[in-house]
Subunit: 241 residues, 2 copies
């Protein structure tokens, strides 16, 4: 017992809170008691309560949502970049609910960096679509999409609150032939962070996907800004050699 | 010019420093002037100099190394989890130098969580190897490896400051048949952060790779803790359908 007593108070509180999460007393997405309540319950200062919570956040067990408090982190969703399967499909496949909300959609002149990535001339018109996507009603990612209007004229008149690639395949007979995907941690800028209800400058996971068709023509560039704790990349490889 | 003047001072300083990086005046891994020098040079307070540097850090343009100061972030190395290729090969392939340093190696009883992941009985002996790996002499990742001694008896007597899988293939005729890989951002714990000369609690990119042989026998579990800005996951997929 002595060794337990020597553990700093905030870590002792951390252990008791972690127990409630790991034993399933507190479930995924459940709201934790307010910091004030925790400090009364454990007879500790607000500062110590905060330390315990920040520790649990660092371990990924809880997350904070601006203005709403602390919540138990749900299981990460698996994302396999090598599979040609959309967000709605892989989220539902894993037993979660998926929801998509279109934040804006318009025709613009292609931003320079997109032109360079996509291999299209500067100033070419492209569709730009911003969406927010939810897993079990938690906002988990913001998506910025650039589409080549040549291939899907009038698509902005459709509802985009659903699988975009389902629409592209069925209405426009498009198929991504080649997909180049890059994934890395990145700081979330103010606009994205606000839309995900987290602090500006907190870490996110960034995914960029560039799709071309069989003739090498640019189809889509998709940027996804994920909460750092909402997803994991999972790849399984079996040798043939 | 008025709009420029209205931009907060730390962002004006940020812009001038970013210019030096983006124009190539300051090169990858180059040390920035000390905060004191920057504050004198721009006639600003140390606090403002610090704000500008933290902003550049958040954008990934510079990184700090404990006790050594601020440096220009080098280009991220590309890592493709779907390829069966080791660290030394893919780093050198991209024109960088790779170095590996063994921090510890010993025979231990398998940790419970490793036993569970690997599908081996509790208490089984395994080799545990900790290594630090450098790209262009910058420490970029810490690796924790668990190996099944049945398949590679005596391996700890070899130098492990090189490609482990080259050794396993040539000396022990092993081949990973099935590789299951998981990748996600994670906070770096004290021991790992210290070994990478960054602050405890800063974000890293975590990779876990689990290898089995053709008979489903456990070969290796490898955990890699990367600096968040040293690497990007890159996958290219071409449809066959």
């Amino acid at each position: 017992m002595n060794t337990v007593e020597k553990r700093p108070v905030y870590l002792q509180v951390r252990d008791q809170l972690a127990d409630k999460i790991q034993s399933g007393i507190w479930l995924a997405n459940e709201k934790l008691p307010a910091e004030r309540q925790l400090s009364e319950q454990f007879s500790i200062t607000r500062v110590t309560a905060r330390q315990a919570l920040v520790q649990l956040e660092a371990e990924g067990l809880i997350f904070r949502s601006n203005r709403r408090g602390w919540f138990v982190t749900p299981q990460r969703i698996n994302y396999d970049p090598s599979r040609d399967i959309g967000f709605v499909s892989y989220v539902e496949e894993q037993g979660f609910s998926a929801r998509t909300e279109t934040l804006s959609k318009m025709l613009i002149e292609v931003p320079d960096w997109v032109a360079e990535q996509a291999g299209i001339p500067e100033g070419t018109p492209v569709y730009e679509i911003f969406r927010r996507r939810y897993i079990n009603e938690r906002p988990c990612l913001i998506e910025k999409i650039y589409l080549n209007p040549k291939n899907c004229p009038g698509i902005l008149q459709h509802s985009l609150d659903r699988s975009l690639w389902h629409l592209l395949r069925t209405e426009y007979k498009l198929d991504p032939y080649e997909r180049h995907i890059e994934i890395y941690p990145q700081t979330l800028e103010a606009r994205v962070a606000d839309a995900l209800a987290v602090n500006t400058g907190s870490t996110g996971l960034y995914i960029r996907r560039l799709c071309h068709d069989q003739n090498g023509e640019f189809l889509e560039l998709d940027e996804e800004f994920w909460l750092h704790n909402a997803m994991k990349v999972v790849v399984s490889v079996t040798s043939n050699g």
